[in-house]
Symmetry: C3
Subunit: 361 residues, 3 copies
């Protein structure tokens, strides 16, 4: 075994979560005989990643397959992003998401131009996002943007000619987080990939929060609607009269997946297979933390094999007392984030061919 | 065609502006038979880039030639900045200029130490610029600094032993921006390079703003004075009694190029070939935006072939309604910025020899 | 001589201090016949660097040896940190220390994920350090953290599985600075390495400040206690009744090195061989500058061959009038910082074998 390979394995071995369930990418890969749906990924070349609505189930599964391949092998040897520059433009500060993207780029030998805090910019001098997009054309090859304004996407794309990856736009969307969420679920239970998931493997999803004002939750639900043969019910638990919001009302009504809204978490908790929790809702320009009435801890009446997802960072709504239990899928979910972002970057920047040994079906 | 070359061409093809005139580097290169004035560039090795006064016309043209070569070929393959570290020390925040320099470094395989916001530093603990210069000696190979204090250059150079590139010092100078401005003009009309520019190609420059307190404008005018055979007149349009300021009064008086100051933009606008606009003036420690009386838009009475330059970011003084017209040279100007900064870095860090196939006259 | 080697030498030659004593690494290396105590360094593989107490004299000397090797040869050719990502997580901003670490990483071909100002993070949303540690597991290979809270180390290590390098924790420790301080002293007088340092080479250390609330000073004294055969006396000069503090009281009492506390700097100054000055003390959550009564300048009654150390940034306590004298060891001390941090990173990340031509005793 060469020194380089040994080093790669050492790296890979360590890159996992410290507590909770550990999710191996191998089972997911094996369920497809190690094959990747390359055609679905090829269609992402040169495309922007803006909102979950742009994906069908096949593409979500293909991204999960490539993520699993990237997680199981150290493809950084292949240097697939060599010569590419990613701009991480965080006009709304988020160290976690920014570093996750930047780590994805650097591990694959790409380079990073970092804007850690967009408030410290020419914008202070009144520069428009459209003009910033014009500048970015010559600075990098892909732009990863987070912005507090929901309309930022249209604004920057007036002049931007490079692919844009939306890392969260106001109360809009958070598509890469939703792909990360589903990567965790598909690793946890690969049968969910299939439109004909066996009855006993199908899941009842519980959403604690308000998809209408929580972009991560909204994007998660959007992808859930693609898995019609796998999701048997969606329950939204919220104190609000209309937690679902305009963007999701119609899709939920039109979906064959039954939906319900309940007020009391205790009523449904024992029936849920997957519980999605989030802490932060947008209210106009400000944040609002989740009502602590909906706090989950080790005394919550969870199904014995129920799993919890949380995009983190968390506040009081998710107790650390759950970290060492098998309900904790949120640490494994976080541990998969870099690989999903790598899969997206490799696809968008059209560098699939640089990854050696991809099997296609 | 190798995979690498194909990739390089793809990269290059996309790196241009979205709207307005497109400037090809080829015409400028061809006007010199593809040859570069290597001797002029060699003299920059190990030198600091502090103010436009240090350049003669020959050097400005040589930098434009190298910029054009860098823009026309993907010399990033040559990795000319391999092993070099550039420190971008922005004590006055400017994301656009910082990213432009950092992109220049990274594309040529150099590395970057980034100080995106110098206010978040040990300076808060009272550290002097002289001591910071001492530290930088061991951290990097070249320092790119922007600072709100005009005297910062002398201060940091008390101990700094590395070349310094001035990316804007208070109301002082902005030499790299001026080189970018002239790179755009020389690509637009290569005849301007010559001391014997044909009469019909010579230009009447209009400056909307106050060179005295606008460092970018001041540096642009300084370089304009080098092109005595090409600039037939300079008109400064300003509401102020003395918009020119101490630094420029004498050079303008001594120059063979006739100069005038007017108050009303409408009076001269129809006669100008090139209009330079800027939005920001320094007034002591603060900024002041340009009086909106001097706003340019699609209804302004411009000569049909007049072009507008603006260092951006802009405010109200330059309307987006001009973006899709051929008057818009400012987007092409911005698109050339990275290449000019690369040309400077390669020259200052003495890495011209790493660039394959440079023809010398 | 190859082009690469010539370039390397040019780099190395320039990387030194502008004023004060110049310290060559050669003499230190020669005093060990160019040999490195590789076994001592191998024990650091995978370890965190948390506080000076974890080191014995042998390890401190081995780190100094490797630092000297790195300073004397351009081992960046060996690219010993290739494929490794360091996260510089500065929750307390310090541009100098951050850039010093980042330069160390980049020069050895590692990569950097930078958090220049931790206040601009998800922490603003209430994220715990423990959760941040969990995230870092998948982002990088080593975490370099500075934090205003003394308890931060335990907190982040709840979930962090990567080696942690403490770059300053509140009023706690600053072990890498202490190693840098001692690297300067051992280069200045290699005889101090030996447990049987000749009488005339032994040093009387003076500490101007309060080790109890100054982490850099506290860590420096901690390492001083390891050099029992070389340090003949430690004098703390402070206006406070108990400047030494809880952490150091017992170790100082138990040490064979005699200690004293004095109030008046003039009383002891003429007897000191090495004077350690610092400017900043922690008082709960805030800083406090050193009382200017203890200001050193060119008129201070120093022994003719006395040397001054200061971790910088400085304020009024250390006058620039001393910069051009041979008392100035603080610039040479700063010039050694990058090499000590490189030595630590290479050891912790187990990449000693990537450095060609290390001789072992």
């Amino acid at each position: 075994m060469s020194d380089q390979v040994a080093r790669a394995i050492a790296l890979s071995a360590a890159a996992t979560n410290s507590k909770g369930q550990h999710l191996s990418p191998t089972e997911l890969l094996n369920s497809f005989d190690g094959k990747i749906d390359r055609d679905a990924l090829k269609e992402l070349a040169g495309q922007s990643i803006l909102e979950p609505r742009q994906f069908d189930r096949r593409t979500v599964v293909a991204i999960a397959q490539l993520s699993a391949l990237l997680e199981s092998r150290n493809v950084e040897m292949d240097k697939p992003l060599d010569g590419k520059i990613a701009i991480t433009a965080f006009f709304e500060a988020s160290t976690r998401t920014r570093l996750s993207f930047e780590s994805a780029v650097l591990r694959l030998d790409g380079k990073v131009l970092s804007v850690p805090d967009g408030q410290v910019t020419g914008i202070a001098k009144g520069e428009s996002l459209a003009d910033i997009g014009e500048m970015f054309n010559t600075y990098g090859d892909v732009v990863i943007m987070r912005h507090p304004d929901t309309n930022c996407i249209d604004e920057i794309r007036k002049n931007l000619q490079r692919p844009l990856i939306n890392a969260g736009n106001g109360s809009g969307h958070h598509p890469t987080q939703a792909l990360i969420d589903w990567y965790a679920l598909l690793k946890w239970r690969p049968e969910l990939c299939s439109p004909n998931c066996p009855e006993e493997k199908r899941v009842h999803l519980g959403i604690i929060g308000t998809p209408g004002s929580m972009r991560a939750v909204k994007s998660f639900v959007r992808l859930a609607l693609l898995f019609t043969g796998a999701v048997k019910k969606i329950t939204v638990i919220s104190e609000l009269a209309d937690p679902v919001g305009l963007d999701l009302n119609e899709p939920l009504e039109e979906s064959p997946i039954p939906t319900e809204i309940v007020n009391d978490v205790r009523e449904v908790l024992p029936h849920l297979d997957v519980i999605y929790v989030n802490s932060i809702a947008f209210l106009g320009d400000s944040y609002r933390n989740l009502d602590t009435r909906y706090k989950l801890d080790q005394d919550s009446e969870l199904k014995s094999d129920a799993v919890i997802l949380h995009p983190l960072a968390r506040n009081e709504e998710l107790s650390e007392s759950l970290d060492c239990t098998d309900h904790n899928l949120y640490f494994a979910q976080a541990a998969g984030a870099v690989f999903v972002r790598q899969a997206l970057l490799v696809s968008v920047l059209d560098r699939l061919d640089q990854i050696s040994g991809i099997s296609t079906p």
